[in-house]
Amino acid sequence: MGLLSDPNRRRALISLLTRLNAPICVVCYMAGVAWFMGLAFEPFTLRTYMSENAMGSTMVEERFPAGERALATGREFSAHKKKVGGMPVDWLVKTMQDRGLEVFTQRFSRTLPFPDENKERYMVKGTNVYGILRAPRAPRTEALVLSAPCTPGDHNNQAVGLLLGLAQYFRNQIYWAKDIIFLVNEHDLIGMQAWLEGYHHTNTTGMNWSPLQGRGGSIQAALSLELSSDVITSLDLVLEGLNGQLPNLDLANLFYAFCQKIGVVCTIQGKLQRNDWDSVSGYSHSVQTLMLMVMKQASGRPWGDHGLFLRYHIEAATIKGINSFRQFKRDATTIGRLLEGMYRKLNNLLERLHQSYFFYLMPSLSHFVSIGYYMPAFCLLAVILLQALDLWVQIATPQESSPGVLSVLTPLVISHLTGVALYTLPTRFQEMAVEHFPVSETEAVVLTAIAVYTAGLALPHNTHRCLGTEQGWKVLKLVALLYLAVLLGCTALINFSLGYILALTLVPAAAFVTPNLPKVLSAFIMVILSPACTLLYSVFFFQELQEAPVSFQDGWLLYLSVISQGILDHFLYGSLVYPLIALLVYPCWLLFWNILFWK
């Protein structure tokens, strides 16, 4: 404090900061990236451990015997599915009733804002079937959910079969303390969204559903099951949910512990665990796993049916059966025993899962990076606040014509109006676009979005009518920098990955931009560092990480479909990435664009 209150020392400190500003920023940026890359290095990460006492020390036995019968039920289900040409509701109701469950159905319908070309659906109508196993001597206050989506084609029949097999086995046990809800949802996420909204009687996305008749109290945890083959070689755990939310780490620990116990190979992000962390390939393997998790989390979309549970503070994960590593074959009984063990431990829970971390990244299933370790990487990037301090000092030295803060209002308002246009126009004008151009609705939406985005770039030439002085752009840049810092800070707190990826490209752009640079080159760099281009690189990078590289042509098509999926996710499930980009990040970037063309 004394340092700052003494005017002389203060001046010295400030001059030091202004002089060393650029080097400090560059060093911090480098350090931030290096820190992040270090997160995947195994000695720097923590081993996972079970925090929840109720699940840790107690032992359970797994006795599920009926894997073959479950697969037979799955085949029966598949036959009925083919016969009906969709969800065999009546058969499911009867089968669940025979197993002694209380069975209920829920109908739902939803018209998408524009056709979903990936899944080929527009007007969706469906039925969810769920059966509740009532826990003996429990007053219907707590429940667990096991769900399996009913997907068209030959997928996921084994999951439904195993679900019914487990239901039959669980029904004959006395030890349940929580109701168990067995849910078969149609139209994957849309059905799940309808069911969850019905269960909690909310309506956030304007879907039509019939009210639920039976409930089991507050849901403590949920697992979603995806199996498409009779023999499983490994199980993959999917954690990333809506808006980058993650379930409590204890759920992942539970899965890992049972895979170890029963001897099932388990993966995360489809990547097997490796023990050679000290070799280069081992390190790059865990970097890939970590990056995949970051990419998936940043996308803000639910990567499995479990993703929608997280909004309701229900810990959930998707377990996917993989059939690709030929040497480790496991039958359905083993998977059933694994699930039985997990449910018995979840049944032992006295409280909701809360002991372990909610904010983490996983470079492998046995190691995790907690928020305390990864946040410094972001904080180092966010040192652009020093730039703001520098500008503040420059502005503070009195000059003749210091413009008021109001002068930055015009660019702020105009850039935000552009953002609003980017948010509303694509879906609003799809019909008009389809009428006038030879495109489909989905293409119309995506192309309108790109058009609005590009049109926004033309705006700055018209917005600098206010005092075009040296002081003017500094005020604007100061405001824009503070805006960006707050925006990225808040984003990183909620969804670290998204905040980090945005910071990675926006921070350099924000730091270097001034009106005095060579226009063409710096404009090119600015465009390269804009949010849309970040998305484009992300698409390619993600494909690269998944070891499925694409050509530029395919990548561009993928890019377009990712945009349409992002918009759909927002309207269907309430994902916030699209509005965040359109209404806040893009306008913020436009402010910097504006500074570049300041006259």
Binding site: M1, S5, P7, R134, R137, P139, S218, E351, H354
Partner: protein
């Protein structure tokens, strides 16, 4: 120790009696005034009137006792000395012992779902007023409680599990999950709240349950939902207390003291079946004690006390019977019956065979020719009766093991006339909505229900958001009694009389806000959530057959619990499931403390740092002396530039 307590009670009793007589004698002249006040039904006229109004019934009671014991004229009560001697003679002479009677009963009803419902009913009747210290069949612990706390009616139930009305129909006596206690006090009790507090603590000891957690934050005085079930027409709800503990877990430790209240204990009679390892291997378990005054005969001039102990249990088809539709006493209770309780005047087993008139659904062995019909819950049911007091019932093996074996496995679906469910809607930790859904499945009759919602204070109800809708239209309740909560003092109480249209679903919704508790108020497991007790729906449901209104008629015990006033309807009480609500909970962990501490430090530091960074410093000249300042003020007033 026990002897000491007994003598203390005896002294206390005789003292009470004495004081009552003195008061009665002194107030004889004021009696008509008191009666007048009582007739006006004006309870809020100060303590003096209240005292007067409360006295006359005590006098009356004394008269009953006097006539009963030695046929003395009522006037004798005024004199002191003979009366005390009477008291002593009552205590000492076994000849004048009041009459008591014990009956036991087991009802077994095969449920449509394949499960089986067993209901034990034990009734002890005693023609007494508890001014004695010799107890025969009636449990002494309860008798002393009744007399010490001037209890008029006491109903307590412990339930583990939730009665599934949709699968099982209506139970004979319903009860909410957890513990429920409701008590009507005599109107002679002056400080009901402290009496209630003491009573809950005593009962907590007797039943080995956490009833001592009943305090003002979960006690209410319902105005209409809980009417006295015994005789007596005082319905001033100031003397009623109702509380539930939805979290209470019921186990062996509660069963053992409950069994000890029976005259034969668990040594003989039906109670030998009550083995905890089997009773708690079930889907539903509920045990209750009901004490109330009932009419002694048809004229109903005198009363006796009735102690009813009931135990309801449902055995599950899948877990207990491995899916086989075959039940026997041995399979259910791992015991068979060999004798009735020797102290019981009647000991019977009823098997509900209404759905099986010709024996085509299931077969019952050993067969019995004795049949009985009873109207219960608006339906005429037929029962096979096994009388355990007859030796022939036990046959040649001297043991009775009833066996029910199904012939077909399809069950028919059930459509109970009234059922209800409740849930919390919404997400997040700020606001939520309580939905109570009531179903009237009667095809053409509408009927009113009294809904009672008891919500703890930490859910702050937005009562202006209360909506009642039936069939999509608004349904205006004809009676609403709402008592707002006070933080940390009392809960919300909402009672509504709602008319349920025929064949309809009525939904009552109310929004609430979750309170942030003080950090010491959280339970040790705050992330489990906080319980909200069941809401209670009491109703007179239209009956299919004419109900028996003659209460003194000899009836099976299970059908005679709720007094029936008219033939066309029967009384049903339905409890919804309790709710588990998450409140905003601080993370009670080390990182949480660290974060709190760091945030505090940052907050303190930030202010001064920000201040220093944004303030611009200017060097100021040293301030002028006093003389110069005064001179400057004067010059300013003169309009001359300062020095």
């Amino acid at each position: 120790m026990a002897a000491h307590r007994c003598s203390y009670i005896a002294v206390l009793l005789s003292f009470c009696g004495l004081s009552l007589f003195i008061v009665a004698g002194s107030q004889k002249t004021t009696l008509p005034v008191g009666e007048h006040a009582a007739a006006n039904g004006n309870p809020q006229t100060g303590t003096e009137t209240a005292e007067q109004t409360t006295e006359p019934p005590a006098v009356e009671e004394e008269l009953w006792e006097a006539t009963e014991v030695e046929g003395a004229t009522p006037d004798d009560a005024a004199t002191d000395t003979p009366d005390t001697s009477t008291q002593e003679s009552v205590v000492l002479s076994p000849v004048a012992q009041p009459k008591d009677d014990f009956q036991e009963e087991l009802v077994i009803r095969p449920l449509p779902s394949g499960d089986i419902y067993a209901s034990f009913q034990f009734r002890t009747l005693w023609e007494t007023d508890f001014r004695v210290s010799h107890y025969r069949l009636f449990p002494k612990s309860l008798g002393q409680v009744i007399s010490k706390f001037s209890v008029r009616e006491l109903h307590i139930s412990f339930t583990q599990g939730y009665w599934r009305t949709m699968q099982w129909g209506q139970p004979f006596q319903s009860s909410p999950p957890g513990a429920e206690l409701w008590v009507w006090f005599q109107d002679s009790v002056t400080d009901v709240d402290s009496t209630w507090k003491e009573l809950t603590n005593v009962l907590s000891g007797i039943f080995c349950a956490s009833l001592n957690f009943i305090d003002s934050t979960n006690t209410v005085q319902p105005s209409a939902s809980f009417k006295p079930l015994g005789i007596g027409n005082v319905t001033d709800h100031r003397f009623l207390r109702y509380a539930t503990l939805p979290r209470e877990i019921v186990c062996t430790e509660n069963l053992t003291p409950w069994k000890k209240l029976l005259p034969c204990g668990s040594k003989a009679g039906l109670a030998v079946l009550l083995k905890s390892e089997k009773l708690f291997y079930s889907s539903f378990h509920s045990q209750a004690v009901h004490i109330r005054p009932v009419c002694r005969d048809q004229d109903c001039k005198t009363t006796s006390w009735e102690l009813r102990q009931t135990l309801n249990v449902v055995f599950d088809l899948h877990t207990c019977a491995q899916g086989k539709r075959e039940w026997s006493l041995f399979k259910m209770f791992s015991r068979t019956l060999t004798e009735a309780c020797p102290l019981a005047s009647s000991s019977k087993i009823y098997i509900d065979i209404t759905d099986n008139p010709q024996g085509e659904q299931f077969e019952l062995s050993p067969a019995t020719s004795l049949l009985s019909q009873a109207v219960v819950l608006g339906d005429r049911r037929t029962f096979s009766v096994y009388d355990l007091t007859q030796r022939i019932t036990f046959g040649t093996v001297h043991s009775l093991n009833l066996l029910i074996r199904w012939k077909s496995s399809e069950g028919h679906t059930l459509r109970p006339l009234l059922h209800a469910e409740r849930y919390v809607a919404g997400y997040g930790l700020h606001v939520g909505e309580i939905h109570t859904v009531m179903y009237n499945n009667h095809p053409y009759r509408s009927f009113p229900v009294m809904l009672l919602e008891l919500v703890p204070w930490y859910l702050r109800l937005y009562i202006h958001t209360l909506t009642v809708t039936s069939k999509g239209k608004e349904n205006t309740p004809s009676y609403i009694h709402y008592q707002p909560s006070k933080d940390r003092v009392r809960p919300h109480l909402l009672e509504m009389l709602v008319q349920l249209p025929p064949n309809s679903v009525t939904e009552v919704t109310m929004q609430f806000e979750r309170a942030l508790l003080k950090w010491t108020e959280y339970t040790p497991d705050p992330n489990h959530g906080f319980y909200v007790g069941s809401s209670v729906i009491s109703s007179l449901v239209p009956s299919i057959v004419a109900m028996d209104t003659n209460i003194t008629l000899e009836q099976p015990l299970f059908s005679s619990f709720f007094p029936c006033k008219e033939e066309s309807s029967f009384f049903v009480r339905v409890y919804t499931e309790p709710l588990l609500v998450n409140l905003p909970t601080p993370d009670f962990s080390m990182p949480y403390n660290v974060i709190c501490l760091t945030c505090t430090v940052v907050a303190v530091g930030y202010g001064s740092l920000y201040n220093l960074l944004t303030r611009s410093f200017q060097i100021e000249e040293p301030s002028p002396g006093l003389a110069k300042r005064i001179a400057n003020i004067i010059r300013k007033m003169r309009g001359v530039p300062p020095l």
